[in-house]
């Protein structure tokens, strides 16, 4: 049984915010945990045999600079964000390694908490070695007292080895004055599976991210799902990309986006480079209040035998659907919430129940607040 995460600085309100992004400080349903407050590593441990949760610094010391992995999936020269993180003398972040054949039934949680610092930067490396299965929930949030702006720069490099699987569920709960720039990429080898889920239901000043999965091995799978709500003043430039290189590789990119007045740019790109690959991209958007949803789905095939498709739809709640539910006795608000709840309900094949429940809980929370 892992020990509870001690957080002396957390107020009751902060504890609630952390819980909302799926972080269980009591560690009842988690097998490991990493907590970073601003640039301080507060907690890093894992009780599951064969799985390590280490601070970036400790992992560098223990594994000779993690040369096989560091900056191998994400280029340090990619943009200003990656350059900023690469230049840090004392890089922070976590390294999670599921050694060969290991697996965790209870997920590992990683909490990145922005309290006082102007910029929080992390460099994370996640490795599932051959035959390993690794489930992670990453909760990113800011303190209730931040209020003066701040930014989070996060580099995450994922390595899914042969016959391995990683599911990574990221829940964001920032505040209206924070900018967030995740830079993530994963490399998936033969028969590997990479699942990435993203949920953001709360205000944020700006998020910009475009995680990429390169499916190098044969019969590899990547599934990205994003469920987001953009409130007035929020600017969300989100996307996901899958590069299908290995024969039999397949990818599914699904987005449900709702604007209540904010901007959502929903990008997606699947590149089928090899025969026998498949990909599907789906973006559905609802405009509840005047805001912007700009869907940019791209599918790119360069060989005979790659099958790619996309569907994108942006619209409003259908009056006939609302009235149908009203004719069953629900008032207009209940009918609207019921339809929106259904719209956001994306079930991810292969995701452990505990993580699906956490995603559902985040959406429930937004529903309680009237979306």
């Amino acid at each position: 049984m892992p020990s509870p995460v001690k957080t002396p600085e957390f107020s009751r309100a902060d504890q609630d915010r952390v819980a909302q992004v799926g972080i269980d400080l009591a560690m009842k349903n988690r097998c490991g945990s990493y907590l970073q407050m601003d640039q301080d590593v507060v907690h890093a441990e894992c009780s599951e045999q064969g799985i390590e949760v280490l601070s970036f610094k400790k992992a560098m010391e223990k594994y000779d600079g993690m040369r096989e992995y560091t900056w191998q999936a994400v280029s340090p020269e990619k943009d200003d964000i990656t350059r900023y993180v690469a230049e840090q003398k004392d890089p922070k972040g976590y390294v999670i390694i599921a050694h060969k054949g290991s697996n965790n039934i209870l997920p590992i949680q990683a909490c990145l908490y922005l309290g006082r610092e102007q910029i929080q930067h992390v460099h994370n490396i996640i490795v599932a070695e051959e035959g390993a299965e690794l489930h992670i929930i990453s909760g990113c949030t800011s303190g209730e007292h931040v209020g003066k702006g701040g930014a989070h720069y996060g580099i995450s490099e994922f390595f899914v080895k042969k016959d391995a699987k990683i599911s990574f569920t990221m829940i964001h709960n920032w505040s209206a004055d924070i900018e967030v720039y995740p830079r993530s990429a994963s490399i998936v080898e033969d028969n590997g599976v990479f699942l990435s889920n993203y949920v953001c239901m709360q205000p944020v000043k700006k998020i910009q991210m475009y995680p990429t999965a390169t499916l190098r091995g044969v019969n590899t799978v990547a599934r990205f799902s994003s469920v987001v709500i953009s409130t007035p003043g929020s600017y969300m430039d989100l996307g996901s990309r899958a590069i299908l290189e290995g024969k039999g590789a397949s990818a599914e990119l699904i987005t449900r986006a709702i604007t209540k007045g904010g901007t959502i740019i929903s990008r997606g790109h699947i590149n089928g480079k090899t025969a026998g690959t498949r990909g599907h991209l789906e973006c559905k958007g609802l405009i509840l209040n005047d805001g912007i949803i700009y869907a940019i789905p791209e599918i790119e095939g360069s060989v005979v035998g790659t099958e790619l498709s996309h569907e994108a739809a942006v619209g409003k709640l259908a009056k006939d659907e609302i009235e149908y539910l009203m004719s069953r006795g629900l008032d207009e608000d209940e009918a609207t919430a019921t339809i929106i709840r259904g719209f956001l309900d994306v079930k991810i094949a292969g995701l452990p129940e505990a993580l699906q429940k956490q995603i559902d809980a985040s959406i429930d929370e937004a529903e309680k607040a009237g979306f």
């Binding site: 149908y324 004719s327 006795g329």
Partner: protein, 243 residues
Amino acid sequence: MLHIEDLHVKVGDKEVLHDINLHIEEGETHVLLGPNGSGKTTLLMTIMGFTSYSITEGKITFKGEDVTTMKSHERAQRGIGMLFQRPPTISGLKLGKMLTAISRNKGKDIAELAKSVHMDKFLERDINKGFSGGEIKRSEVLQLMIQNPDFVMLDEPESGVDLENISLIGTAIGSLLEKEKHLIKRKKSGLVITHTGFILDYIDADKGHVMCDGEIKCHGNPREILKDIKQRGYKECLECRHQ
């Protein structure tokens, strides 16, 4: 139970129902017949309170209460229910979730009721998405079973349904209308649109009305009217009955 007096209804700028008068008492089931486009569905949608149908004159009284200006959910909460001929598909919303929402924790056993109309395997499916004609109607009947209205409107419950499903749906509708109870003890009422009359084998209707060009032209025994229509067609039937 339901009294409609001098009702005029517009859809957009056009009046589509003219001077409708209809009185359905407790325990009675009435049948509404008429050619396509005559206004039958419009009347049901108006009684249900759909906003595209504006009442310009007249009134609707349900269980002694004027419901003319009430919203759809208020009418439903007072006991009016409807089986739709073509209900919308709602992507993402699972039938089971909807049933839970409309049951309002009344203690209904959703799984058991779903099983009784062979819809137990559909609870995790998006509402009406990819449903066959029979499945749509079974889903509608299931929703009404959970809603348990006192006044049930049925818009062509047998259309697009095979014979086996007609029996299942007909029996369930009969039960919704308490047809198994003795006439004196029967409290539920209904209004049914049918073209084929197959459903009449299960609901034993009391009165029939023929609608044409937005008006109710005549009344009578539902089976006799249906027989006339089948033999002579609507045109001749209406002429005959107007003489």
